[in-house]
Amino acid sequence: MDALLSLMHGFEVLLTFDKMLLMLVGITLGILVGVLPGLGGPNGVAILLPLTFSMDPTSAIVMLSCLYWGALFGGAITSILFNIPGEAWSVATTFDGYPMAQKGQAAEALTAAFTASFVGSLFAVLLITFLAPSIAEFAIWFGPPEFFAVYLLTFCSFVGLGREAKHKIVISLIVGFLLAAVGMDTVSGQLRMTYGSVELLRGFDFLVAVIGLFGISEILLTMEDQLAFKGQKAVIRMRVVWETWKTLPRYWVTLLRSSIIGCWLGITPGGAIAASFMGYNLAKRFARDKEGFGQGRIDGVLAPETAAHAAGTSALLPMLALGIPGSGTAAVLLGGLMVWGLQPGPLLFTEHADFVWGLIASMYLGNIAGLIIVLATVPLFAAVLRVPFATIAPMIIVSCAVGAFAVQNAMFDIWLMLAFGVVGYVFKKLDYPLAPLVLALVLGDKAEDAFRQAMIGARGNMGVFWSNGLVGTITTLALLMLFWPVIMKLVGLVRGGRAPRTA
């Protein structure tokens, strides 16, 4: 096995004292940046990048990628404890993770999230190890129609499989699309809805919106509930980790499904967010008993975390093999590669084998070391919930504000965060789902660009969305998802029985 030999060589490169030390430093820093909402992987890597200029490329990438793994692990912590997603792909983790914490199962939820991250990453790394060169080709098949079809699938699965009233999901989506359209339009080169404001030029940043919509609104709601966190009875013992692990093998189908979805969407660039939502929605669709999702089910945490991290890890593959960054962090790393004198692209694997296999080996070791470190901190983080709300709320608000500010170093974003907090509060009060808004805000302009690029390329022919097997399958799947409840009703009618429950 060529791959195995290369991997062994990679471990050989890696197993030196100073590289191991850099790994630990990277992971610990990563968890710290991951815990602060807004200050995610991309910022952390960007801040540390100048420090690595004088290192050799392999040490540099080992430290930075370990920071990335650390941030991936850390992102789940605030999602579960405070309903504040630390990263784009942690939004779906809040759906069941936060209710679990409220039920006093914060430690279980954290353990599940960390383990799921590990499983997803491991699956993706195995895939990279053995299939790297051939899998990388896959990303090249994706032109504008294919990208649009994937986004359509994400939106449609949301509408079709969502628990909330359909019209509320659609309204929330539309608000998201509107917000996503603010700023520069790639296709026409014109500014839209900026009204002469310099601050609006960059559009609405996803993280600012998420911190406000989820974090600030949650604080407002809790204040209304007589300043009480419900997670105070959290059981805090190291044994929880072990007990949670014993239940996990039961969910192997969810883990496997999410890993596959994650890898697939991670390799097609920009799919980690879509992956986490799709992982969650499909887990809900295929669960034997659909009750309890959104109220704190452990597989509701496992599914999105596994998918997001499989995607986050496999996103490094197109960066290395094609030079297309699959995520914000990957984009910063890409800039680093150039400074270290490496040219990402099809020849990187052959010309800089030391570097590539050192990196892949560090994915294994980094994830294992990361898992051990974060699991050891579970009791510590779960204990945070015992702190009285009146003490912790100001700290959360400050860290939210710091996070919102850090995204673009802009004071305006803090006001924006507060405004989104009020919007989120109103949405929650009226029982409108927030996730579709967030999803549309993140993917809306990408979907729009892809659609219009496809139309320019196809000279306005809609048939392009069924022009080959790949795009045709995804588009058809998307429409199936959209009309799923209707289809199930029809199937029920044809069978003559009672219509099956819709989720």
């Binding site: 991309p42 960007a46 990048l49 100048p50 200029f53 004088s54 990303a139 090249i140 098949w141 994706f142 032109g143 504008p144 700023g183 520069m184 339009d185 790639t186 296709v187 026409s188 080169g189 014109q190 500014l191 900026t194 002469g196 310099v198 030029l201 960059r202 559009g203 094609l322 030079g323 297309i324 960054p325 914000g328 984009a331 910063v332 890409l334 800039g335 680093g336 150039m338 400074v339 004198g341 040219q343 990402p344 692209g345 099809p346 020849l347 673009q408 170093n409 660009d449 690029q453 320019i456 390329g457 000279r459």
Partner: protein, 335 residues
Amino acid sequence: MWSAELKRGAVAAIFAGGLCAAAPALAWEPTKPIEIIVPAGAGGATDQMARMIQAAVQKNNLLKVPTVVSLKGGASGGEGLMDMKASAGDPYKFIIAQSSIYTLPFSAKLPFSWKDMTPVAIIALDEFVLWVNSGAPYKTTAEFTAAAKKAGTETLRMGGTGSKREDQILTAAIEKATGAKFAYIPYKSGGEAATQLVGNHTEANVNNPSENVAQWRAGQVRALCLFDTARLPYDEKVTPDMAWKDIPTCKEVGLDIDYTMLRGIFLPGKVTPDQVAFYQDLFRKIAQTPEYKDYLKNQALKAAYIEGEAMTKFLQEDEARHKALMTEAGFIAAH
């Protein structure tokens, strides 16, 4: 030039001798971190240039204060430009600018002019190359333009970065010179345009050398011609049988278009001459570092170092040229 420098030096020496023996070489020096504004996204050509500057400064100890890279890529870089405009008088930030300093105000009515900033130096010129997929039937520029003209309703698709910017301006120039029509597809970045060409989702692009070099080396794309008046000087083989120098200019092969893009350093407006002199001195030193020279070679940029009067003249002419090209292509936004 040399004698003027000497004379000024002599005068300064006399004055300095009269005042104090160990006068500082420069009147202004930074005392806090300097921000490098990148009006583009992470990982793109401008970001890479910022990282190179950061590395060159750090490895050669050219500055006593740290540098911080700020990505302000909103509105195709308009965010970074407006930030510079709003920072008049602040000597602790500089921007790495490119032709969007003219194109954005024209096409998107951005209330900005490069005259809102203080020019420091142009440190390189970026080239453009006509690329096609290596599996494509056309092997030369002439065959390509003939195919584009023959295409009829099945217009060839040209990929590029953004809308009404350098890539589309160049595409419009090719259309005008050849009479062919292209379906121009705007992508978010040059990297995306490169992979879309490899995947046959477009038939051609006019990417910068650095944006397509990885695909070129891997034999996935073919370089047809260089949009400049002279070939690139780099004669080291990049692909098994070609060096940058082997790419003919478009003019040589019958497509009379030349177009290069500045990569220049600007300070905010209303800074003092001392501050400008400090940065000019800094960039003159950076231009001598091995990091900078390797960077030019690896990215196949055209070496250039223009400052002072010559830079102002360059900017005025370049702006007028962009206005003419964009007016012709219909890219100027109505007021």
